[in-house]
Amino acid sequence: MDEFDSLTDGVFFVPPSTTGNAVGKSKSKASKAAVTWDHFKLDGFQQIKDVNESIEAMEIRHALFNQEWGLMSGRIEDVMRSMNTVVLSSIYDFVYSAYSRQSSTAAMPFQELPTGLIFAGINVPDHDLLFQQIAQTISSSTPPSSGTLGAEDMGLDNSDTKASAGSKSHVVILQSKDCANLKSAQKSMIEQFLGLGIAGAINPLEGGVRLQNYDMLVLERWYQSLCEPHDGTGEDLKQPTLVIILQDFESFDYDTLQDFITICSNYQDRIPFVLLMGLATSIDALHQGLPKAVLSRLQTRKFQMQQSSECLTAIIEDLFIHANVGLMVGPLPLKQLIDQFIHYNFSVGGFISNLKAGASLYYVLDRPVSEYIVMHHFYASPLSILCDRSLTAQSKALDLLTKGHFDHLRMLPSFQQYVEGKLECDPQEAEMLILDDEFLVQQIPDMVHGLLEYHQNFGMVFDFLWFLQSRFSISLLKKPKRALYFMALEGNLINSSHIPFLQSLVRKLDSNNMMLFVEDWLQLFKDSARCVPKKSTALENAMDRELVVVQSIRDRMAGLLDNVSEDSVTSSSEIEDNGEEAGESSKTSSGGFVKKRKLVSLNVYAHETNSRQTRIAMKTRETARIPKGALGAYTLLVKEIDETISRLFRMYLVCHTSIPLNEICYYSQITIQQKAFLPQPRASIQTALGQPEVYLNCECCQPPSGSTGQSLADMVLPTQHDTCILYKLYVECGRMINMYDWFTAFGMILERGQQSDGVEEPPSKKRAGGRGGRAGLKAKIKANANANKLDQKEVQARFISGVAELQFMGFIKSTSRKTDHVMRLTWGNI
């Protein structure tokens, strides 16, 4: 510990070492070979000791982590971009037409500065990315297209539109931190426009004047040189527009902004400026911030960015519902992620970094093991190989499994569940699974594939659920996608009242709408990628089977309705409520295939009679349902549809916990995440000062044997660190603290410790383990000092250093109100 005994350094970096005692349970010899491995190259991945992990296995884990995160972040970016495509392209149009439009209409008596107001949501830190996207969009010479443009397309487009390259906009982003005053705002703008940062690049004027870097003349000059046709292509070239993005409007100094806008609008006749302002709140901010003289120079247009909560839903949908990534997030962590989002910050960026850290925690801190392994039985989260979707029986990963891995695997709840299920139908296999490692290895890829299939089917049926919900416009039961997904994760979606309610709505559809519904349903299934005919695997067949079922329902339905319209049966006198009839006739009439023909579709009927009937007559028909006689077949069909729907949900929306080995993919640790992302500074500080032993792990601070009733936190022990002793005394004080009293009390406590030292072991060593060097140093001095009598000077020195620390941390401050007193600042008796 001596290397930490520095008087000048406050913080020490201790890289984890393989021989460190933090991890150490069973240390194998094999791991010793790994001491040489480069800690930083692998981002801090460590071998997991309790399963005798090999280095290769660890490397696989590392590679998988990188691959997964790369995939995730790529998808997230895509989602974000596609969310805003519409707005982006309208902003693009706005910027491009800003000046051409004016010359064409010229309705206004004076020139206004085209200004786009971008309402981007209240989470300001997220805006960086957004505005960079906007800037990119505008400065590119092609409008954003709805699809993601490949790099080659971009290149092609550029060459195509080279003719119009002259109209390229120049974009700068100004942030309030660069614009403390007018000078710096102008300077920052000009520097960005000219693309320099090199002050020397500013050309002196003709007369040899060296202009200052915030002089608008510089910009004007530059712009003129920009506009001069280089190759004499003619004057019809559109002049480039200069776009200024004010990213965080609310944080700007309004006086500065006012002047800045005035200047821009003054120069507008020479330089075509377009302003884009990012507003986090509402348009009131604009009206409050700028006077009318400035406002009347603006020609505003509003752009509403996508709500961040919708972005979040889209990300969750893309990543998890459709399982485009290997790693899933379990219900608890997901809830916490979403809660934090909704309750606190609306920050998609925060969500993402949380996710990433979540992902990396999963891999790093949890110390998950690469092949089907679990580590800490406490953190029963198996993982990463399973996350590899291309896992086959030949994978190298499987060879790297050790005995420890298998043990962990067998300890998984879902695995046990699976084996128990097997026990009933196939006891022999169950036994093999438990006893035979080889057999287990063979089974693993199948199980992983089962998991994968489950995800795909889940995603598709979930889509169907969403389709069902959006079909009925009853706002009461609308649930956002992420809420539905969350229910599914927790496993109570199937049993919720939501699904039966939707089903009852389906049953109540009239025949025509039912037909439409079935058609759409079929289309939905056909469109989804999972039903595209592929090479046969077990579960894909399952989904194809569903498709066949739906198809047959549709065909029969269509046949039924066609017949009816041809027949034009007019037995519309017997009218009853559909719902009731459905109940009755489903029991009675079972196989009436003939009766189908008599079925009357209300709308078809209404159409035919349209010409003959009066309006009122039509209205009565509208309430008409299917004639009793023809009801049977139709009802049967409806019943079949109903059953199919509920079977779909029941089969494919089951909770993930029932799938074997789901722990491999689902991350469900919450405590670590909480610790890292919901820090509680007050609690930590209170613990650190009140119960330092929690952090120091020292043995010295045991409660004296006599006082068992008292908790450790309430006692002041002389063995504790000086600052802790002072803090505990501080807590007992009122608003003003008398320094001398404090000092005396401190001295007495030290004295007490000194007296007991005679009997017990000296406290010095323990303190040295704790708060770094100073205590240790002092302890040494103390040890050398007179054993019985405490040196008064030393007590004072320690007192002063402790008080200084408290002051540095903001607990006290000096006051002139009372001599020899300090003011208590924190956690007073409110």
């Binding site: 309705a107 949501g121 040899g208 004047v209 986090a280 910050n345």
Partner: protein, 550 residues
Amino acid sequence: MATSLQQQLHEAFPGRAKQINQILGFMGKPWAPTPPSLLINGNSSLGKTAVVKATLSAVLGGGNQSESEQQQQCRRRVPSRYAFLDCVECHTPRLIFEHAIYQLRNPPPSKDKGSRLHTQNGAAAAGTSEKNETAATSGTRKRKRVTYSPLEWNKCENVNEFVEWCRKICDTKDEIDEVEMNGSERTGSSCSKHQNETRYLVLDRAERLRDTAPTLIPVLMRLQELTGRNICVILITTIVWEKFRSKTGGYEPIVLNFPQYTKSETAAILKGDLPEGEDLDLFMRFVDLVYDVFQRNCKDLNEIRHLVALLFPLYVKPVKEGKIQKHEGLKLHRHIQAYFVEAMDKLYLREISSTEWSDRTLSAASGSLSGGSGAGAGAGGHVSGAPGGDRALTTALDVQNVFDLPYYTKFILIASFLASYNPPRLDMRYFAKVSNQGGKMTKRSKIAAAKKNGHDNMGSKLRQQLLGPKPFPIERMLAIFYSILDEEVEENVNVHTQIASLVSLRMLQRVTPMDKLDSIKCKCNVSYEMIKALAKSTRFEIDKYLFDFS
């Protein structure tokens, strides 16, 4: 020539004849001595800047209005006789000096789009044609000026240097002329008479000068005396000279006031805005109407022009559609009335910009057209229907723009509102978690009773609602926050980051300086309406917790 020039200016600026004459009178002949300084004041949008600019450019060149070809060429070559500076842009003395010197040493811009005079359309065309003519030689000329110019200088940082420069500029003009005479040997004699011509230094928005440097105004007032040359400083400002006066020793400028436009003058100005192909009578009637309706709230000429431009298409729409005859003034008035009300609400705010407005009216027009043809609705129905649709449009936009806050952040904001408007002594009563609800109620009714006895029905005069938000310590707000939240929330970093972000959104206002870290105090900076909306969205009964509020 002078009279025709005057005439033109008078035509361009209706109602400003007297002021133009005065300015021209002060200027006199090009080389005549002028008053050292001139202060032009008047309210905003009374044409001060435009008149001065137009007059100077007409008389001294740059506008190229009526000169012959030869004179134009000559003018183009000599440096400008005036410099026009905006004091918002030139916010430091150095910027003022350098821009002034730069402008005085270079020819005036040939084409002045900025002033946007109605009469300058022709001039612009003349400028371009002439540009083509001189394009061939301008390159060589430019180079010559750079190489031969004796005025090699780097910067002008203070008043002394500026005075020196002014002298140099006035003197060295001859040399430039000589250089040019040697170079071209065409217009020698005509140029030499510019020797002692007056230079004008125009400072727009001169009220800003008071902030840039304390000594600047006195110096500018005596610039003529200090340089000993013929220089006239013109200040244009919206405030009176009295506010400029610093301690002692300043010269008084000649003050020239621009009065408010009268109604007929306004109408005359707006006459120039007549859209192409529209009926003048109808337009003027509409201008009259707008002036009468809005003049009580808005004297600003620009705003009125803006309104006219926005509303006129709507006004003539029924006429064009043939629903209302041109002469049926009353009907037209009824038709436009609803739009007026809406415009009055949003006066000055520019909430709906001109582009959005025109887009909307276009779409509304097409919509009503199709609707009108389909249903055959009468004119009366249309009149009441169209504005209703417009309203709906605006409210839809507004609803969309209502921004959302995270759940706890809403409560933080509500808590700070309560902390700002409730007296701290009542915190115990409102927010202490009393076990029995009944006791809480009686206490509150006691307060109500006390309120009744102590004050009249309107509440006390000193209630916080009327006094505005009071600063509160963050700790108090947090205590209220935890008290009004139903669920248990652990204190964590997020709460504090949200407070910080509210401050950066200007919903909370920090009253203690940023470098003071302990005992931070804030004020709540949002309106009661907004808090009410927030409370409603979180189902929090804000009224139960507010003291003496209505």
